[in-house]
């Protein structure tokens, strides 16, 4: 009897599961303890301590002027390492957001071009995708930075793209900078109010159409309302927005020639290179996703739409795109995530983003490996988990739509 019960205990798969899990936890705890023990010994050997006190210390290195240094007002010797951390995060997300915007527009264009009936358009898109997808991103980044942007005219010369407003040379892309006067906020408020009104108008129009069948030209009314209201308020407050144009001197002392600091706005070449490389590379992947998404919509859907008398434009807008998006959005989000993570490659050309200035320059000065690498990874992990959470929410929502 006892023997039987013992063997039945051992054959009980649930009990055996508990046993193995306990064993795994034990093994994990042992190795974690071993690693911590080693780390403590190693740190003691090197005379290092653990702690985040260094974040308040002043950082003594130069960071090239970017959005981050502007927002956090970076000054060598006065700003802290915590400022450096936030500057890094800002610059990472700046280039990620610009890259996402660029890659989405370009990727959708190329993806639709790939499905064109026109052979020229189609094969051009194919060549673009195959070329860009099969070359390492780092090589492309080096190409744009060291081969293309370095070939621009020197500091004392420029290429004008829009005369007196937009110009380029080896120090970057110069654009007019907006100078916001007092009262500009009213125009922003007017714009937001107009958007809310249009949103409510759209809901009302939809409701009315489903009840009475009467249509209302929401698009044009909305367009007029948003532009009209904003412009009206802008003009009535006395146009409180000026532009500072980049000033370029061709006369005077040789060393003072070129673009004058304090005028206009400059995008540093490092950022341009990272943005170009990320946009062009990711667009190739997005194009393939878009193509697959559109192809995934069954042909019968288009035919059915035509047979109830829908025009091609309406079919695309009301039938194909909503269904294609359901297929496109999950991989698209993971491409956005990849783009954000790939922005860390900017360390190779010293664009001041998180990895470059915090885990690179600052780490070399402070030497707090564990804390700084941990802080850096947390940024990327938080972003990834937030995106994953959004994806789960989106998938759940899309599933409800599908009956």
């Amino acid at each position: 009897m006892t023997k039987h019960s013992i063997s039945s205990l051992i054959y009980d798969s649930k009990l055996r599961g508990y046993f193995f899990q306990a064993l795994i936890l034990l093994g994990l705890a042992t190795s974690v303890w071993w690693i911590i023990d080693n780390t403590v010994t190693n740190l003691a050997d090197r005379g290092k301590t653990v702690g985040f006190g260094f974040l308040g210390e002043n950082a003594g290195f130069q960071i090239s002027a970017t959005l981050g240094t502007w927002i956090f007002d970076y000054n060598v010797g006065q700003s802290s390492y915590l400022d450096v951390y936030f500057i890094g995060i800002t610059n990472t997300f700046l280039v990620a957001i610009l890259g996402i915007a660029g890659a989405t527009v370009l990727g959708f264009t190329v993806g639709i071009m790939r499905l064109s009936k026109n052979f020229i358009v189609r094969s051009f898109a194919t060549i673009y995708i195959e070329l860009l997808r099969n070359l390492p991103l780092l090589l492309q980044l080096f190409f744009w930075y060291f081969a293309v942007l370095r070939a621009l005219p020197s500091k004392r010369e420029r290429i004008e793209i829009i005369p007196d407003a937009v110009a380029m040379n080896i120090t970057g892309l110069y654009l007019p900078a907006p100078i916001v006067g007092p009262g500009f906020i009213y125009s922003v408020i007017a714009f937001l109010i107009a958007v809310v009104i249009v949103y409510m108008l759209k809901r009302w129009a939809q409701k009315r159409q489903s009840q009475t069948g009467q249509r209302f030209p929401v698009f044009w009314t909305g367009f007029g309302l948003i532009i009209g209201l904003t412009v009206l308020v802008f003009l009535s407050t006395g146009s409180p927005l000026n532009w500072s144009y980049p000033e370029f001197k061709t006369t005077g002392a040789i060393l003072r020639r070129g673009f004058q600091s304090g005028s206009g706005m400059v995008l540093v070449p490092e950022m341009l290179a990272v943005w170009l490389a990320l946009t062009l590379y990711t667009a190739a992947f997005i194009a393939e996703i878009v193509r697959a998404g559109i192809l995934a919509v069954a042909k019968g859907q288009t035919e059915a739409a035509f047979s109830i008398g829908m025009r091609p434009g309406m079919t695309l807008r009301l039938i194909i795109i909503p269904q294609a998006l359901r297929v496109i959005i999950p991989p698209l989000t993971s491409q956005y995530l990849n783009l954000t993570k790939n922005s860390s490659l900017a360390v190779a050309i010293a664009y001041p983003e998180l990895v470059s200035i915090f885990a690179g320059t600052a780490l070399n000065q402070v030497g707090k490996e564990i804390e700084m690498i941990f802080m850096m990874m947390m940024v990327y992990l938080t972003f990834s988990i937030a995106t994953a959470a959004f994806m789960n929410w989106f998938n759940a929502r899309v599933k409800l739509v599908e009956r």
Binding site: F20, N38, L135, L139, A359, I373, M377, Y380, L381, S384
Partner: protein
């Protein structure tokens, strides 16, 4: 007797040729190019047609312009040789102090020829390069043999490539002769044999029915230990080869070593992680999920930074890892997490009936996985696996950021050589490296498409 009607045809209508818009070259041209530009029925259609004409012309112009630009740069205008040993002056224009006409823009190939050995093998000693050549030649032949179904014994060759070849390459590239005492190898092998015999006894039922299942684990671990120590033993044999440390490796050699190690290690690790993530045991599945999501959530550069900065802190003082091995560990863990998600996709696609059928036949968990589930799941996701490999191959370039000179890193340091400093130096090198990477990645992506077609054919019964 029917009365003949005049209006009824008595012979076949003549066969007309198909309309010019439907067949032949004109048909193809019409359907694929001009049809989209020829609709002027309404204003909207006319705008669309005109747009199509402009856009097509623009694309053709860009394409021709770029293609000729590339041909001109790489072939027609390029400097091909440097017979006088002028180095950078061979690619200088008159203005810069050389002999080429002003405004010249072409590739400076002598620079690439001079750096070719460095770009391929880094500082690997020239008199020992034959070892690299043998390793590469055996690897290429073996790989092609294993990947082509038509070749005889391609499965067996594949197994050899996964087992014997890494050892052979390791000995050839490093020179072997690692320090390992014979006693320690002997003790380990003895231990392995002991475990196998316990396993055998258990399987035969000497240790009671309870141990019958656990005993197989003993056998596997025993064989694993023996195999590992045979490898250790062979790697410690003195083949009379000059040792070459990994610090002397570089260029394409490093790219291939990192990529292949990552590829070979990531698949089994990824399978284990994917199975773990789908496990019924909460602890296992949570741990595997955390592991996978952690590595997938951070960029590879941070992983490489971590491997090069934090790994030495985690290990006991005195244990010193070679720089390349640290990067390899980082790359392996990183790619295993991605592979795990690909494999999990395949596992999710398996019908539930397959599991139930296997259970009904009395197969154990590992038997079910090995014989029923994994063979199906893995073949379904071969394209995904190959795509992960392509990503991994491209990602190997990142090791250059932590100071290991892979193909791109070696090229980049060649670009910094002032003896060859010309305005076209960087672009020439990138063109050369780009072609090499493109051949590898494009080749792999074609293989993936080929496998996809083959699989979809074999699935269609």
């Amino acid at each position: 007797m029917t009365t003949p009607h005049k209006y009824v045809r008595t012979e076949d209508a003549p066969l007309l040729p198909p309309p010019a818009t439907e067949a032949g070259i004109t048909g193809w041209l019409w359907q694929n190019i001009f049809a989209s530009m020829a609709d002027y029925q309404s204003i909207g259609a006319a705008i669309r047609s005109l747009f199509m004409i402009t856009f097509s012309l623009l694309l053709v112009y860009v394409f021709i312009n770029q293609t000729f630009g590339l041909i001109d740069f790489a072939i027609l205008s390029a400097v091909w040789s440097d017979p006088d040993g002028l180095k950078r002056e061979a690619c200088w224009t008159v203005q810069q102090g050389g002999a080429l006409p002003d405004g010249w823009h072409g590739a400076c190939w002598p620079f690439v020829w001079a750096k070719q050995k460095f770009a391929w093998f880094g500082p690997y000693p020239s008199e020992e390069l034959w070892r690299v050549y043998i390793a590469l030649a055996v690897g290429t032949v073996g790989l092609i043999w294993a990947l082509l179904d038509r070749m005889p014994y391609h499965r067996q060759v594949g197994v050899l490539m996964l087992t014997i070849y890494p050892l052979l390459a390791f000995i050839l590239l490093t020179g072997g002769n690692n320090e390992a005492s014979l006693t320690s190898i002997g003790v380990w092998i003895f231990g392995g044999l002991a475990m196998i015999s316990v396993g055998r006894m258990g399987a035969a039922g000497y240790l009671g029915a309870v141990f019958a299942e656990i005993s197989s684990v003993f056998s596997i671990v025993g064989w694993g230990i023996i195999a590992l120590n045979v490898v250790r033993g062979i790697a410690s044999v003195d083949f009379n080869l000059t040792p070459v440390g990994t610090g002397d490796w570089g260029g394409l050699l490093i790219t291939l070593v990192v990529a292949l190690t990552g590829i070979v290690a990531s698949l089994p690790l990824g399978i284990i992680l994917a199975l773990g993530r789908r496990s019924q045991m909460p602890v296992v599945s949570i741990l595997c999920t955390i592991f996978i999501e952690f590595w997938r959530g951070v960029p590879l550069i941070t992983v490489l930074f971590m491997a090069s900065v934090m790994l030495p802190l985690f290990l006991p003082a005195g244990v010193n890892f070679d720089n390349l091995l640290r990067a390899l560990i980082g790359v392996m863990l990183f790619s295993a997490a991605y592979m795990a998600e690909v494999v999990r996709g395949g596992l999710q696609g398996i019908d539930k009936g397959q599991y139930e059928g296997a259970q009904a036949m009395g197969l154990s968990y590992w038997q079910t996985m090995r014989l029923i589930i994994l063979p199906q799941a893995l073949t379904h996701v071969i394209p995904g696996i190959v795509n992960t490999f392509i990503g991994l191959f491209k990602d190997t370039t990142l090791v250059s950021i932590v100071g290991i000179f892979d193909l791109l890193g070696a090229g980049q340091s060649a670009v910094a050589d002032a003896a060859w400093s010309t305005p076209v130096q960087a672009i020439t090198m990138y063109l050369y490296i780009g072609v090499i990477f493109f051949i590898f990645c494009f080749g792999m992506s074609r293989y993936s498409i080929f496998m996809e077609n083959k699989l979809s054919k074999s699935r269609r019964h």
